[in-house]
């Protein structure tokens, strides 16, 4: 039987190769949330200094002792905070410390250690809180919460039930259906879901606009926004590094590992908390997200660690003017960092709301490793991911347009991934005994996966030792968000075109299959493009391959015969050429069709779609397989529909449809 003629549980799946974008498994699709909006990007001048409009500045730890400084400082401590700090200082002086694994250990100087201890001794005298939430709840605009070394489990928050009866009145109808938790719910019941919650704004004076699964208001601007009540808040640990202050939403005995034993959905949440600064602490073991920043304009996270969350280490949703700087994310079941539903400040922006092109959130100097995904972002628009390390994940980076209701900003566009090191993402999260529990199926062995992204830039990265593919670019046809609704009477929808995603993406100046120090560590293939019919403007140029030359790049389709040109059926290198257009590829589609079968039918059959079995090390001649997925049942057939062929111009009319239709 032909490889892509596969029987799936006796059913006949109707598939067309143009749907290869639909196969994309490495996508953290969404999360269930209230109808969310992008905050007004202009600073809120009702508070001084203004909140939002820019990444907030952090105040020094020492300045927390200055009673004349703006804002009130509330200190949280435990009985053993100072002894824990002394131990940490001794360790840092003797053995050194770092903020993330790839950072060299550096020793704390005696003078700095003494100064840090003195600051903490003075803070300890001002300590009036032993749990964090009461200190946060007592805070106002411009205040600070300093958390001294210790492991904080927040017993009072843990005691709050997940579904307090008195809070039910604040549930709302949302674009996710009934039962969503509104902002008013979070305002009145901040600890139903979160161990620590910063509720940044009062309730608005009016009514929230109606929203429903069949319609939602324009996402530009938060309607019925209340006044700042905890804007410009700074929350920080006072230890040597983030290991000294820990917020644990689950099983403390597990340390920074598994099992997570979650007791709360979220460890630390900042909701409409414009201008918030989080610094120097660890959050871990949340059932969903370790740190969750929502509808916030202006945030800074620096020297933070996010360990072993059930879903995201750090989730920044519909937030603007953000900076995540110097972080360590590991063990997360979905992804280490996730700036999803990000403001559309890129090429597809509404210039009335976002007059100028702007990258709205930056992630830099982070190590995201040993996660299901290192980075992901459904509708992660105009993010700047620069100078990070993504390694030992199942897939390193994924960004996508795989639509899920409630993620504004479709399609994903305008992100910039530059000067990162993306390597050795071959972690078999599916292996028996894996300490990370995969929340969503992703392919093993991929460096960067773009699924339906437009105008993204991948530049100046080192991408090596990803055993399946260094990079993948796959289209997501609009049809995915416009498939016929099975409900009778559902409003009609009209696809806007078959290929409005995955255009204009540029890959250049990357070093592939080589480490920064010049060692050869090949990817399975450096660049992989699905050649989706009519996709245009994608280009790959000035990249170096395994021997340091452009000629040594491996790609599918292959590099063009003449460097710098774009020729159909070859990897385009001339971005502006009218020939930089996909024309389809039946061989690739044959594999992807099998993956469609897996997803549509829930079979996860390793011989139909091999993305969930460990790929062999390039050059090893191995067959991979390992302990990923079981072997399939007996084969069968995959058949193709004509409906989506017609989207591309009619049956038999495209390179993509023709070979498949012949096999029905």
């Amino acid at each position: 039987m032909h490889r892509w003629g596969v029987r799936v549980s006796g059913t006949r799946i109707v598939v067309i190769a143009v749907l290869l974008g639909l196969v994309v498994p490495g996508i953290a699709l969404a999360h269930v949330e209230r109808t969310s909006y992008w905050p007004d990007p202009r600073p809120d001048t009702s508070v001084k200094p203004a909140a939002g409009g820019a990444v907030p500045k952090a105040r020094s730890l020492a300045s927390a002792l200055n009673r004349k400084a703006r804002g009130t400082t509330r200190v949280v401590c435990q009985r053993g905070s100072l002894s824990r700090l002394r131990h940490s200082i001794r360790r840092a002086e003797k053995s050194g410390f770092n903020n993330r694994p790839t950072e060299p250990l550096r020793k704390l100087k005696k003078k700095a250690g003494k100064r840090l201890l003195r600051i903490n001794q003075r803070l300890y005298k001002r300590c009036h809180y032993h749990q964090i939430q009461p200190a946060v709840s007592a805070s106002h605009n411009n205040d600070r919460v300093v958390i001294m070394p210790g492991i904080y489990t927040e017993p009072k928050s843990r005691a709050v039930p997940a579904f307090p009866k008195q809070c039910e009145q604040y549930r709302t109808e949302s674009d996710h259906g009934s039962g969503a938790v509104s902002y008013a719910y979070q305002f009145h019941c901040p600890n139903a879901q979160s161990l620590v919650a910063v509720i940044g704004r009062a309730l608005g004076p009016g009514q929230d606009p109606p929203t429903s699964p069949t319609g939602r208001p324009d996402p530009h601007g938060i309607p019925n926004l209340g006044r700042c009540i905890r804007c410009n808040l700074q929350v920080e640990g006072s230890g040597v590094d983030a290991d000294d202050t820990v917020i644990d939403a689950g099983r403390v005995e597990s340390g920074n590992g598994a099992p997570i034993g979650s007791k709360k959905d979220v460890a630390f949440k900042a909701d409409r908390a414009d201008g918030i600064v989080l610094r120097n602490f660890t959050a871990r073991h949340a059932a969903e997200h370790d740190v969750y920043i929502l509808e916030t304009d202006g945030y800074r996270m620096t020297r933070m660690k996010f360990f072993y969350a059930g879903e995201y280490g750090a989730l920044m949703f519909t937030s603007d003017h953000g900076l995540t700087d110097t972080c360590d994310a590991a063990g997360n079941g979905d992804s280490g960092v996730y700036p999803g539903g990000a403001p559309d400040t890129g090429t597809r922006r509404d210039t009335r709301f976002y007059p100028a092109f702007r990258l709205n959130q930056t992630i830099t100097h982070c190590d995201s490793h040993h996660n299901n995904l290192g980075y992901s972002g459904t509708m992660g628009n105009a993010t700047h991911v620069v100078d990070n390390n993504f390694y030992d994940n199942t897939t390193g980076i994924a960004t996508d347009s795989f639509f899920a209701g409630g993620h504004p900003g479709y399609p994903q566009d305008s992100s910039m991934f530059e000067r990162n090191r993306i390597y050795s993402n071959n972690f078999n999260v599916y292996a028996p005994g894996s300490d990370v529990k995969s929340a969503v199926p992703v392919p093993i062995g991929v460096g960067i996966l773009i699924a339906g992204g437009d105008d993204d830039t991948i530049s100046g990265n080192y991408i090596y030792d990803n055993w399946r593919r260094g990079t993948m670019l796959i289209a997501v046809p609009d049809a995915i968000s416009c498939a016929p609704n099975p409900d009778e009477g559902a409003p009609p929808c009209t696809p806007q075109g078959a290929a409005t995603t995955s255009n204009g993406d540029r890959y250049y100046d990357n070093v592939m299959s080589r480490t920064p120090d010049g060692r050869k560590m090949p990817n399975g293939v450096d660049f992989w493009w699905d050649e989706f019919p009519t996709n245009s403007g994608n280009c790959w140029f000035r990249n170096q391959g395994v021997d340091g030359t452009t000629a040594s790049i491996t790609s599918d389709p292959p590099p063009p015969p003449i460097e710098g040109t774009s020729v159909p059926k070859f990897l385009p290198e001339d971005c502006g050429s009218p020939s930089s257009v996909g024309v389809g590829d039946a061989a690739k589609e044959s594999v992807l069709v099998g993956c469609v079968a897996d997803f549509a039918q829930g079979t996860y059959d390793a011989t139909v779609c091999d993305w969930f079995a460990p790929p062999p090390r390039p050059g090893s001649g191995g067959s991979g397989g390992g302990t990923g997925l079981p072997l399939p049942a007996a084969g069968g057939t995959v058949t193709l529909t004509t409906r989506l062929c017609q989207l591309l111009g009619g049956e038999g009319g495209t390179l993509t449809c023709t070979p498949f239709l012949g096999r029905i």
């Binding site: 005691a159 639509f403 899920a404 209701g405 009209t494 696809p495 996860y604």
Partner: protein
């Protein structure tokens, strides 16, 4: 502290006990909110699907229909019928590696293929 731990333990126990084990007092669940094994749809995974009774599963399927079938720029997102979703989860969750997959993630992905599956399969 002791009270907090006790409350946390009680909550954890309430969430963890599979429904097919004995018959512990059913925890209060908010009206109109589907829970599976005590967990909301944001957290429900194959593990909860396998442990749940049919009534609980049906409520979850209805909730997922609403969650996933949200608005798109072109109309409501597609969603699965109850039998389709039932088959999806039964098949997927029977695979040991899928034990921790989130149901809504599986559902959303499969919804993308909804129109590609012949209606009576």
């Amino acid at each position: 502290m002791a009270f907090g731990l006790a409350a946390a333990c009680a909550l954890a126990f309430a969430l963890a006990v599979p429904l097919h084990h004995a018959h512990p007092a059913k925890p209060w669940s908010p009206p109109g909110v589907a829970l599976l094994g005590g967990l909301p749809m944001q957290q429900a995974r194959c593990e909860q699907w396998l442990a749940a009774g049919q009534g609980e599963r049906d409520r979850a399927l209805d909730a997922l229909h609403g969650v996933v079938g949200g608005p798109t720029p072109y109309g409501p997102a597609t969603a699965l019928t109850r039998p389709e979703a039932q088959r999806l989860f039964d098949r997927t969750c029977s695979n040991p590696i899928a034990r921790n997959f989130l149901l809504y993630e599986l559902y959303t992905r499969a919804s993308g293929f909804r129109s590609l599956v012949e209606p009576n399969v």
